[in-house]
């Protein structure tokens, strides 16, 4: 097994408590990565290893209701509890031959923002509390913000009431048993696809309902992501120490009517996407190259963000590589991150996904591309151009 560590900022090991924390988390990263690798190799995470064996057949009725109730309580806990801890996230390709692991510290105040910070990095906000002005200390430096609770109330581990509703519509949920995460007893909720395959497992704190771990699987039941608390404090003991956020969600949300007007002006802003992805929010911001629209989609588990802006990509995109995806040539920022970009018909698309690769492929396939216009289209375009010369 090979580990490659990147610089961790200007920390002073041995004297700075933050540095000690980083060292501790780095060790945890190694342990988690080793565990993921070992479990993947042995097939424990996709078969019947640590968590209880998957339910036979589809769970309906009381089992579904119980599972959904726990998930709704978890979404509520994400908003109402005070907690802080260290999360370890692993995102890997479907082949599970590699992947990236990140460690972040998390802070959350009741009704406030959930902040995640990679040691030495900027702070990301995760809830709209700052927008609502509940905690002036957390007002961002930038003019960004959001008034759309359906997007920003997504707390740690992707739990929110909106996502739970979508999850209930698209998956079969059941309580599967009990486990333990970061030394805390947890209830385990399984999420299955309508066809019966496992899609995700949630570990929810038995005492408070707070999500402690989430693992996602692709359509072939291969582990694609794991987010877990390596350590967590919940309640009064979790007070203080949180940083001031420097970025948050774009504040200009787009209502359905505004989206319709943009579509009428030629903006390609799709509604639902393949993979049962529902449009859960749309935001707009300005860049030096003009406005950019952020469309967010989810099926309750996966989240896909598509950023659309007018223009075209340069022939060479530094830091990106060209790859074939769903039969189209696109730029990949980092295939493991599932971040892709391409331009077509006067618009640039940047797709960032927390979703199985199969879902990403379906989405890419559903969006416009300019791969091969064909000789007839080229003739048509040339004719239009020549006519425009004759009759400008």
């Amino acid at each position: 097994m090979e580990f490659r560590s990147c610089p961790a900022g200007s920390l002073s090991p041995g004297t700075d408590p933050a540095a000690l924390r980083v060292i501790t988390t780095a060790v945890l990263v190694g342990l988690v990565a080793s565990g993921v690798a070992l479990a993947s190799g042995l097939g424990l995470l996709t078969g019947g290893g640590g968590p209880p064996p998957p339910l036979t057949g589809q769970a309906h009725g009381p089992a579904q209701a119980a599972g959904l109730r726990l998930l709704r309580e978890a979404a509520q806990a994400c908003r109402s509890l005070r907690y802080q801890g260290v999360e370890v996230a692993w995102w890997g390709p479907a082949s599970q031959t590699g992947g990236d692991t990140s460690v972040v510290q998390v802070w959350h105040q009741p009704g406030g923002q959930a902040l995640t910070q990679a040691p030495g990095a900027q702070v990301l906000t995760q809830t709209p509390a700052a927008v609502r002005g509940r905690d002036q200390r957390h007002q961002p430096v930038s003019p960004l913000g959001s008034s759309d609770p359906t997007l920003d109330e997504a707390g740690v581990l992707g739990m929110s009431t909106r996502l739970v509703s979508l999850l209930a519509a698209n998956y079969v949920v059941a309580v599967a048993g009990r486990g333990q995460v970061a030394g805390r007893p947890a209830r385990i909720v399984t999420v299955r696809r309508p066809g019966g395959g496992v899609a995700a497992w949630f570990w929810l704190d038995s005492a408070t309902g707070l999500p402690l771990r989430k693992e996602m699987f692709d359509a072939r039941a291969r582990l694609i992501s794991s987010v877990t608390f390596a350590e967590v404090d919940i309640g009064r003991s979790a007070a203080g120490g949180e940083p001031v956020p420097t970025a948050r969600a774009w504040h200009t949300t787009l209502a359905p009517g505004q989206l319709a007007r943009l579509r009428a002006r030629g903006w390609p802003l799709p509604g639902p996407l393949p993979g049962d992805l529902t449009l859960i929010g749309a935001k707009e911001s300005s860049t030096s190259a003009g406005p950019v629209v952020d469309l967010d989609y989810s099926d309750g588990l996966s989240v896909v963000s598509i950023f659309v802006q007018r223009g075209y990509l340069p022939a060479r995109l530094s830091g990106w590589s060209q790859v074939a995806l769903a039969g189209h040539r696109v730029y990949a920022n980092d295939p493991d991150d599932l971040c892709f970009a391409w331009s077509a018909r006067g618009f640039v698309y940047t797709l960032i996904a927390a979703a199985p690769q199969q879902t990403v492929g379906q989405v890419v396939l559903a969006l416009p591309h300019d791969d091969n216009p064909g000789w007839l289209a080229q003739l048509k375009h040339g004719l239009h151009r020549l006519l425009s010369w004759v009759r400008p």
Partner: protein, 163 residues
């Protein structure tokens, strides 16, 4: 049975007989009414032919005469040959060939020009480099999960390779 002059009459009228032959022919004409009539007819024909002079039959007359010939391969071939050699037909055919070639060349040229004009489409709008760091922050906010930090932001990122 009395023997008539036959071809010697034509030679007499054309002045092609020797003196001796002419004496004998004239002696025969003196005693033969039939030959005298034929000689008179030949003279008349020759006179009329002289009256016609060097005039030649026109194209229209020639074509009408050719058309009177019985239909058949030989006749048609002859018409075709004649048609091909008509000066006006050749000119018209040449003009049509030139026109067809011109139209074809112009069509191909125009098609090629249209094709080339449609090839290098000017990309509409500005040249854009995606602000992926900003976008990843927004995506992180949306997911509520802990994705890999945006590039350029220092973080204790670790890549794990599973053997």
């Amino acid at each position: 049975m009395k023997r008539h002059l036959g071809e010697r009459l034509s030679a007499l009228i054309d002045g092609e007989l020797s003196d001796t032959q002419r004496e004998r022919v004239l002696a025969h004409l003196a005693g033969c009414e039939d030959c005298r009539r034929e000689a008179a007819a030949l003279r008349l024909l020759k006179r009329r032919m002289h009256t016609l002079g060097e005039a030649a039959a026109g194209d229209a007359l020639t074509w009408r005469l050719l058309a009177l010939r019985p239909a058949g391969g030989a006749g048609q071939s002859a018409r075709r040959a004649a048609r091909a050699h008509r000066p006006g037909a050749r000119r018209r055919r040449h003009a049509w060939s030139l026109a067809a070639a011109g139209v074809a060349t112009a069509g191909l040229g125009l098609t090629g020009a249209v094709f080339l004009a449609g090839g290098d489409r000017p990309p509409p709008g500005p040249k854009v480099v995606p602000a992926v760091d900003v976008f990843m922050v927004q995506h992180a906010i949306t997911t509520g999960q802990v994705p890999v930090q945006p590039s350029g932001v220092p973080s204790p990122r670790v890549s794990a390779k599973v053997p």
